[in-house]
Symmetry: none
Subunit: 235 residues, 4 copies
Amino acid sequence: MPRPPGHGPGFEVRRQKIIDTAASLFAQQGYAATSINDLGRAVGLAKGALYYYIGSKENLLIEIQSRVLGPLLARAKEIAALDEVPLLRLRLLSESLLTIIFRRLDHIWVYEHDYRSLSGKELEIVLRQRSDFEHLITGLLTEAVEEGTFRAVEPHLATLQFLNLHNHTYQWVRPDGSWDAAFLSGEYCSTLFRGFAANVGELPDVEALAAEFKRARPELPLDPEALWESVSVAS
Amino acid sequence: MPRPPGHGPGFEVRRQKIIDTAASLFAQQGYAATSINDLGRAVGLAKGALYYYIGSKENLLIEIQSRVLGPLLARAKEIAALDEVPLLRLRLLSESLLTIIFRRLDHIWVYEHDYRSLSGKELEIVLRQRSDFEHLITGLLTEAVEEGTFRAVEPHLATLQFLNLHNHTYQWVRPDGSWDAAFLSGEYCSTLFRGFAANVGELPDVEALAAEFKRARPELPLDPEALWESVSVAS
Amino acid sequence: MPRPPGHGPGFEVRRQKIIDTAASLFAQQGYAATSINDLGRAVGLAKGALYYYIGSKENLLIEIQSRVLGPLLARAKEIAALDEVPLLRLRLLSESLLTIIFRRLDHIWVYEHDYRSLSGKELEIVLRQRSDFEHLITGLLTEAVEEGTFRAVEPHLATLQFLNLHNHTYQWVRPDGSWDAAFLSGEYCSTLFRGFAANVGELPDVEALAAEFKRARPELPLDPEALWESVSVAS
Amino acid sequence: MPRPPGHGPGFEVRRQKIIDTAASLFAQQGYAATSINDLGRAVGLAKGALYYYIGSKENLLIEIQSRVLGPLLARAKEIAALDEVPLLRLRLLSESLLTIIFRRLDHIWVYEHDYRSLSGKELEIVLRQRSDFEHLITGLLTEAVEEGTFRAVEPHLATLQFLNLHNHTYQWVRPDGSWDAAFLSGEYCSTLFRGFAANVGELPDVEALAAEFKRARPELPLDPEALWESVSVAS
DNA sequence: TATGAATGAGACTTCATTCAT
DNA sequence: AATGAATGAAGTCTCATTCAT
């Protein structure tokens, strides 16, 4: 959502910093409870100048949502399309999701908490993207059932369990704590895969596969840092 | 936070109805986005009269929080104290939690979403109660590990998985859908217990135990209706 | 446009006074240049209370427009339907229009000046009503041409001349000056009727007819006071 | 209000174009409702540069007013001083006025609508010029009465009728419609002259006189184009 | 018990204007 | 000659709360 033409080189940089600050404030106090004045104070800019950068308060919310959903969906699609067993792809997708949660906890707070503050059209877009993400997971789970790795769990309900487990993490996680995204992903997947398994003894060693994959394909979609940066600055 | 003495008999009844309505509105639009005017319109009372009943807007939030946490904690303590195997107690606790979620989805929305709108002291109380609830679960999970039913999962992390799975349910559940609390509890516990099991083949048949328990002890803590009503009206 | 139910008896009275004051301020400074604060100061009410009465600033404009157009159109329809010669009806209509202009010069200023500040739907309504008014005049002028009293003037252009002459009056008229609506109407009609006449010598003595009509039918549509009051207070 | 000396040759040209654009925008949306940003977008100039040319927003209004009043008054004085019968001079003046209205409808809208947005001193100047214009007309009408062509109409009231008829035209006229300034002038003057005539049968054939005058003196004050251009660019 | 009326702070946003570069 | 950036006042409107009746 680039601003009208005719902006200096510093514009976009500063704009991104303002959105960063907004995400942080919204995460702490909530979108509705954060005033434009608060934001202005936090970034050291008068209200007028603020609007020069942001357009509107709701715009900030939109930007934050797309900062989360953009990289997430892009990454998820890449992973889902890999030529690997479904469990590995689920494991990679889990780690990507948790990585973003760890990396931008404030964005995730806003994403999870305040998406309903969006107005009609923007809300639709966000909801559709969320739905797209869900369907990718459902697809992978269905594959795992069909190939016999998982017992006959209902794919939709299994998807919801996958999402519950991951998406609620933002409520308590501390990015600087002793657990990181890779570890948590291993734990979550361990629980889910055993829980869904047709036969626990026959489950592939997903952690080994994931380690191998990361070693063999270090460039690709496994470092969320690069993707996040690229998307958020360009958005 | 009951009103000073000297109120007619209808006072408390009407007050509870107002809180019900408030919970519904807050759940739909969010606490911050719901005005006292909205509430007045919804209950058919002018603002002056409304304040006679509610004291303040934040008061409503406090009431709603305690309506959820009161019965939940009371129930959970009863269940944790039962003389049954840990897995059955976890299963009963799971169903209680989900039952409340199904029964009072609007309260849960507010509970999950807007607890951070509380001011210092009230927030502390809520957070402590939440922590108490967590510890009950951690205790049961620890028991299951110690008796060898579960493998050596880290109890705290296992607790968080249990809570993630249950607490995020409010985001998508439809109380009038095809799934009920008992079914969902069975599914969640199936996933978690298999996921945590030391040996899946040796897991007790928790569903059978739960059915037997409900048959043998129909009166006590398994019908959340009675408890909810008693607590919410008296609170 | 009555306010939501549940207002005391003084509400409507005060509301009308506020609209009066608004019309006066808008007439002096223009709609866009008059702030709600100005209005609040003028009526001695804080902003909050003001909005309790007015709903929105644009609402004031709508009310003022309808205060003018309501009585005007009602009166004009009555007059056009009278069983009198076209020239008398035109003369009566002229006097009604000028009477309203004299009586509520501030409303007319707003009506003529700021109708374009209305938003889409409300603007449409006003424009349609204006158009209805025009068509009544066109009808009467056409009658006068067809019966041979007027020469073959183009009715549309004749209508526009009638309206130009009357509607621009608000720009300079002083209600407390030496001319009143009846006099000015006589002058305007004298100019127009002679100007349009097929044969000036054969024109009826419209002033005599008007005097006779007022004497014979004093109750009906010739005293704008009553109509104005009734409409404006009830609106 | 020319800028301080030391401007390049293109300065004045560009400045005039900006005022043109401003007149167009003010006419469409009103002076108060048009922002400097709107103007900047319309002329393709950033705000800083805009201020280099315009000085202030009110300045634009002043320029537009004087663009209308300058040529109008100059022309009117020339015409009033002609050695022709009063009715011809009135007819020529009418056509000049309507020609300007047709030619620069947007300027006229601003002129008629927003002159009250001027501050004290500038407003005075405009009002005096308007008054000067009126007096020229009053003079001609008085002549016509004194020479017996017109009946004993009150010159001031007759002037106001003349002005009402002409000045309200901007409200509905379409410059690209089927009527042009000459035609409309003929119609208006026909109505007024017959309306004011002492004896309609003895009125001179003003249309013939006007045609003759235009043929005999094509160079002078009858083509408003030249005058407009000269005045507006030099102002 | 209940109401309508009033308040004043504060919300989001726009805008004319200035100025360093 | 021109720009992008910044300001601060002011604008419209909402809202939790209070209070006389």
